[in-house]
Symmetry: C2
Subunit: 370 residues, 2 copies
Amino acid sequence: MSNVVTAFSRAETTAMDAALEAALRGPRGANPLVGAVVVDPSGRQLVTGYHRGAGTAHAEADAIAQAAAAGLDLRGSTMLVTLEPCNHVGRTGPCAQAIIAAGITDVIYAVDDPHDPAAGGAATLREAGVKVRSGLAAGEALELNRDWFLAVAAKRPFVTLHIAQTLDSRIAADDGTSQWISSPESLADNHGLRARIDAILVGTQTVLVDNPRLTARDASGATAGRQPLRAVMGLRDIPPDAAVRGEDGRVLHLPTRDPREALTLLYAAGVRHLMVEGGSRILSAFLAARLVDELIVYLAPTLLGSGTPALDGLGITTLADAQQWEWDQSDGGSVRTLGRDLKLHLRPQTTQPLEPQPSRSGAETAMGGY
Amino acid sequence: MSNVVTAFSRAETTAMDAALEAALRGPRGANPLVGAVVVDPSGRQLVTGYHRGAGTAHAEADAIAQAAAAGLDLRGSTMLVTLEPCNHVGRTGPCAQAIIAAGITDVIYAVDDPHDPAAGGAATLREAGVKVRSGLAAGEALELNRDWFLAVAAKRPFVTLHIAQTLDSRIAADDGTSQWISSPESLADNHGLRARIDAILVGTQTVLVDNPRLTARDASGATAGRQPLRAVMGLRDIPPDAAVRGEDGRVLHLPTRDPREALTLLYAAGVRHLMVEGGSRILSAFLAARLVDELIVYLAPTLLGSGTPALDGLGITTLADAQQWEWDQSDGGSVRTLGRDLKLHLRPQTTQPLEPQPSRSGAETAMGGY
């Protein structure tokens, strides 16, 4: 923690803890989990915000909007936020400007925005006379979005992989039937996720066998407004009449069996959040390559005893080498009930925590370490 | 519900609902889940009891003991209980006598004790001048212990089967390593269960490969006071030096591959609660025969990708024939955290509810229907 150069008050530390906790309420994905808490000069917490996922207000804007709705005056207050406020005009407007406009005079953030340093809002805030400090709870803030930081650093999409399986981890019966192992509520949850991601990936085998549409649809079967890019990975051709082709041209053939290469191609196509859908060979390839940032298991209370296993080999031969995962508490908790199914939410187990880098805030150092 | 011949008051119905709910706090097993609520003449609920499992006080005795501890006088009150009070002097004394001694003047129970009619306490209560009615919430009470009623009727042990598996339902890696897929907390939970059941069953294959002791042990490895009978099923001999032989002679070889035959032999040996431990062939045989009343899955947040699947076939070839299970809310809920593992608790899905039989209470009809 070499970059913690400022002493923080007890109230500031407590407020940052609250911001970290608030961040967990949001969903994982292409955007990091971020929480923000505003305290008045006496240290009293006025308002708490968090980021509800891509396309919605950032945590800072969320907190400021809540304060406005409650008629709270934030002039002279301090904002504690788990990630450096943004400076860019994206879908939601720059947070640095919103903070300045709200009259907030102090900002304490945990870690630098890992993108291009120019994107960070710290310099903008300082230029406007806001006192900016950073590094408080940097380790916790990195841990909160460990997999997102790593994906950003690697310039690849954040990867969500889901498995819809029986208790005995079968994704299809002996005769190939698989519709539907999951409950209607799980299917709806999955379609809700499809509408939020940038791309959905299957293998050519799945296209040839199941012929899926891969569109995001609501309960009535109607197509959602926002649709993911449909990516098909593998060396075989996509049949001309495959349902995945759709009519909007938003389908991409990735002529590779290497998940890393697939991610490079997808990133180049602008994909920042990918959902790996199946089949078992594709699921296994991404898992074996350790390229999965978020694992969702829809677990139906059923047994098949045989049929297609969810995974067909990870190159592991002995228990000591088993892949370790941990329960992800974000987005409503690690276990949720969806109809008769359980939805399990996991992330890769920390092997070693990310080291906070010297902050570039007020220094020359850039966040090149990731 | 042809046996509901008495009208019950709203207070009585409410109290019976509370008794049904209290019953769920207990663990499943060789004894049924039972709850009891005592109300005063104005209908106010005075005390609630439930059965905490084999060897502990029955729900009625639990409620009466709680009242005594709280200095409550139960004379002139009404007890609502989800199962006919017992009449036998077992490990815990007859409840009928305890009810009479407490001065309770009215008893309403949901369903008859399905054992030998002479075991039921209704007649004893009536002879002592207690007003006895039955049939209130009989359907719910049967459903509460559906699998127990069926096991009693079939004169076979109640069967608990557990699987200790990875997320992808492997119970050993390619090289056979399996110690330990589960967390220490799951292992401790399992040993706690071993100390409460009558017998634990494995196949000869498991004895030959894993050479387990099958004793109930505490965290320090010390042997628990109460030990289950160790049953080994299969046609091959148990090696003379097998650990399962132990030193207490409490080992039983069941020379059969038929789970029904194994259960008949175990019932004859006095076993009323059996835990099926493994391996996958034995687990699959009991599941395929639909002889499992309670399914416990210890789910570790790990992936192996290959290795030994928990099950090796249930004779199911298409999804429509998948075995359906439902989440069991008894004993602390259907999902519990045990260290890093989840413990999932399931029971067979109701295909058709048990029909309440005409009550023998106050009639000639015996409970022969089960």
